[in-house]
Symmetry: C2
Subunit: 304 residues, 2 copies
């Protein structure tokens, strides 16, 4: 079955590489690519039915949360994560055919990527001026159009845009990893594997200790909280949406009990998904009918 | 006494406006401005003694934490926050003298600012191409040099760079606010006012429930946790520095007791400061000797 997948384009971005990885793993098949300009646009395409899935970066081991992705989860109808993939992120420095590092006076890349190659640039082309781009693929494209001398982008972008690679595996922090997720409309979660991740988002009543006492619902039941991310609600300065990742699947008894307690104690609770953790090969995405999870899951998903 | 203050330059940025506000409030006097390119460089200037203070943005009501500032707190010796100021953030759209909106094909601003004016731009100049800049002041400067047609920047930047303002008070979310802090080397905290904010950063042992049980140290004692921010340690994917803001001063008994408990239960605890909350006029910064806080405060400040 053909799946249309929205992703941060153009071709040659790391997000496209993640999409290829999802296809290889069988999470989606016969992919029609729909390049867009931001995670928000990718989610909008899914919400409006123009795409079946969105493939977006969610976290980087150096730069942290991709905040535009987190915000996109709460700016419209509920969406759900079905799979994740971790990619090691290293950059190629690319130029128009025939040029050398001495010819590089300007270099373009995504601002997040810039944070990851700045040390290398300072050491090797200290006088080159940084020009921010909306994506690494767009940076490579700008080189091909002669708008900038060089780009830091995935090596594949050099092939796509016919550029020369002057340096490879450039990364100030070796082993820097970015996590990507495959996001669709709410449906049956990917099957429990025993090594899963569950994510929810909620707001809390503004009272001393409310967040701490809510988090106890996990520690009581020995459910490991893997991360917590706060994002402004944009309604009142100092109020936040809390995104929490938990170890386990919504069909694991202690976790589902803790979420039931959260449903009673938090505001605007949304289920973001249960899916296999990236450090094992995930099973093929199953799109058959939701048959095991209980009715309250639906309530959690819709929030209150 | 002259104070050298490092800030995100050039002149005409919101950070410069915050610095002027700090000077007006008496937090610093006889300021020598040291414009730099990032919060990290501003902190480095303080650590190396080239500046007495750094003035940096830390949080925005629309875009959330200024992550580069949070990361800069842990990338070198401990630094301390002494004051904060909240500025309402609205933008002026500025061009070279004599031009009109019809002449605008490219518009530059800082990527965070772009998120806050995108709606207005789409409505008023839908075909103008966004060009990211390292600061709003730099965007205005680029207009004056003819490198770009328009900039979204604080109105003051138009005066500084001799530009025409075509629209004012532009902000997709009305009342958007940015919080700025004044940061120096560790010293005696600003005096207790009864409406203070205290901030710490730490890592936690990797065990289920460790963060939740640590946060109980606050709820036990009825200390309100105002926010929590997680940033990657950059050592291992999935390990975080947790930044926590608390209501109260380190000289408030319940808060200081909770921090003492944290010192025993967390790793790499650092005291980031106690200072007056922005919704009251803060007292003048006192730089006399530390006389009241107890010796363990020093230990907390240095981490373990």
């Amino acid at each position: 079955m053909t799946s249309t997948v929205a992703f941060l384009g153009p071709a040659g971005t790391f997000t496209e590489a993640a999409l290829v990885a999802f296809e290889k793993a069988g999470a989606v098949s016969d992919v029609q690519q729909l390049p867009v300009n931001s995670p928000s646009e990718a989610f909008q395409a899914v919400r409006e039915g123009r795409a079946d899935f969105a493939c977006v970066a969610i976290e980087n081991s150096v730069d942290g949360a991709v905040t535009t992705t987190f915000d996109a989860f709460t700016e419209g109808d509920a969406l759900q994560v079905y799979q994740e993939v971790d990619l090691e992120v290293a950059f190629a420095i690319m130029v128009k055919k025939g040029l050398s590092l001495d010819d590089v006076h300007t270099i373009a890349t995504h601002p997040v990527a810039y944070q990851q190659v700045r040390g290398w640039l300072t050491e090797n082309i200290p006088d080159a001026k940084f020009q921010p781009a909306s994506s690494n693929g767009a940076a490579a494209e700008a080189v091909s159009r002669g708008e900038v001398d060089a780009a830091a982008a995935p090596e594949r972008a050099a092939e796509i845009f016919g550029l020369d690679v002057l340096a490879n595996s450039v990364a100030d922090v070796k082993g820097a990893t970015t996590r990507f997720v495959l996001v669709g409309k709410p449906g049956r979660p990917t099957e429990r594997t025993g090594n899963d991740r569950t994510s929810v988002v909620f707001t809390v009543p503004h009272e001393p200790g409310s967040l701490a006492s809510i988090l106890q619902e996990f520690s009581y039941r020995n459910v490991d909280m893997l991360r917590i991310e706060s994002r402004p609600t944009r309604k009142k300065f100092g109020t936040y949406n809390f995104f929490i990742d938990l170890a386990g699947h919504i069909e694991d008894e202690p976790l589902s009990e803790a979420l039931r307690a959260l449903w009673l104690r938090t505001e605007n609770l949304r289920f973001i998904g249960s899916w296999p953790a990236a450090d094992q090969s995930g099973p093929k995405l199953d799109t058959t009918e939701f048959d095991k999870a209980t009715a309250w899951v639906e309530k959690v998903r819709e929030g209150r």
